[in-house]
């Protein structure tokens, strides 16, 4: 799963083996999940 850092906006790969998440470049702890590239089908109701 690709995330990006909310401060430096770089793409970050999260390693789930280690506890806690943070940006390896700037150390910021807020990561935002990127929207997947596929077409999303939504039922309008």
């Amino acid at each position: 799963m690709v995330y990006y850092c909310a401060r430096c906006h770089r793409k970050v790969e999260v390693n789930y083996e280690y506890p806690g998440v943070k940006c390896p470049y700037c150390g910021y702890r807020i990561l935002v999940k990127e929207r997947p590239t596929f077409i999303k089908k939504v039922k309008a109701e």
């Binding site: 430096c8 906006h9 077409i39 999303k40 089908k41 939504v42 039922k43 309008a44 109701e45």
Partner: protein, 307 residues
């Protein structure tokens, strides 16, 4: 068609009971119709009201394929907002329900219409609202109702690593509209307002009335007028609150209603003209009665055969 069917269709059967159905139109615009329906049972008036809300088919966006959405709205909320936009189709009778279509609901030109929307916030800092007019239809005869705001897209200045950039929001999607009825979902409901009340009847006993004017002051709708005699300006506006009746010490005024007359107030959402909506509801109701008659006749024949 038998002689009995013809009589039922022409309303002669009603006259045998003493009251034929009458319709008097009070107000008529594209979006709104107000009319009095006389000589019908309350159950029929209610059936007509319910048919207007739930039995008239219309097109509405049912599925949305979202390619890009960086707007402030979530995908699901955006889809629901799109679904509630009334779609006006000149060729509505050419469409069929997806479950009745030959394509078996897979999607073809007979059971669905596709709309595309591609919008972006301004190049410089600012915002813009995306309106329903920007939906591009695959069928020229099907148009969305104009000037309905969908979403506001905002361009902001952001600093990434000390560099100033403009972050723009955008929406890119394909919406698929299908035919449906209001009992399935409110997005397929062609009437926004559809209600009725009994026709008020106000009786004034001139012998008892002393023109004290208390009832004129009390009436919240201001429909009473006391000059040389007490008179009603417009009975139809009466809300049947009976405050005038309560305030009168001499029992000179009596408020009641006609059990078999109804004032209908119908407002279309824009997918049909208001008069067309009433007409289609009446047709839908007739279709149901005919179906019932056929089923009852079949059952009667079967029971006869068994006997």
């Amino acid at each position: 068609m038998t002689a009995r069917d013809r009589r039922a269709g022409s309303g002669e059967e009603g006259s045998e009971r003493g009251a034929a159905m009458e319709v008097e139109i009070l107000e008529l615009t594209d979006m709104e119709v107000k009319f009095i329906l006389r000589g019908v049972e309350p159950s029929f008036a209610n059936a007509l009201r319910r048919a207007m809300l739930t039995e008239v088919p219309k097109l509405a966006i049912d599925e949305v394929n979202i390619y890009e959405n960086t707007s402030p709205l979530f995908d699901e909320i955006l889809a629901l907002r799109l679904a509630l936009i009334p779609l006006r189709a000149e060729n509505i009778d050419e469409f069929v329900f997806p479950e009745e279509c030959e394509c078996k609901g897979e999607g073809c030109g007979f059971c669905q219409v596709s709309f595309t929307l591609s919008a972006q916030s301004p190049e410089s800092v600012g915002e813009r609202v995306v309106y329903s007019d920007e939906l591009i239809s695959s069928d020229e005869k099907v148009r969305p109702y104009p000037n309905i705001p969908i979403v506001k897209l905002i361009s902001r200045e952001t600093r990434i690593n000390g560099i100033k950039t403009i972050s723009r929001q955008s929406v890119m999607l394909e919406a698929i509209a299908r035919l449906g009825v209001g009992k399935k979902h409110a997005k397929w409901q062609p009437a926004t307002v559809c209600g009725y009340k009994n026709l008020p009847v106000i009786e004034i006993d001139e012998k008892k009335c002393d023109l004290c004017g208390k009832c004129v002051e009390e009436c919240p709708k201001q429909i009473l007028e006391a000059t040389t005699v007490l008179r009603v300006k417009d009975e139809k506006l009466c809300s049947l609150c009976k405050l005038c009746e309560d305030v009168c010490d001499r029992d000179a005024i009596k408020v009641s209603y006609d059990k078999n007359s109804f004032i209908f107030n119908v407002e279309s959402d824009g997918s049909y003209d208001a008069w067309e909506l009433v007409l289609r509801a009446a047709r839908a109701l007739r279709g149901k009665y005919v179906k019932l008659a056929v089923v009852v006749a079949e059952v009667a024949e079967r029971t006869k055969a068994l006997a």
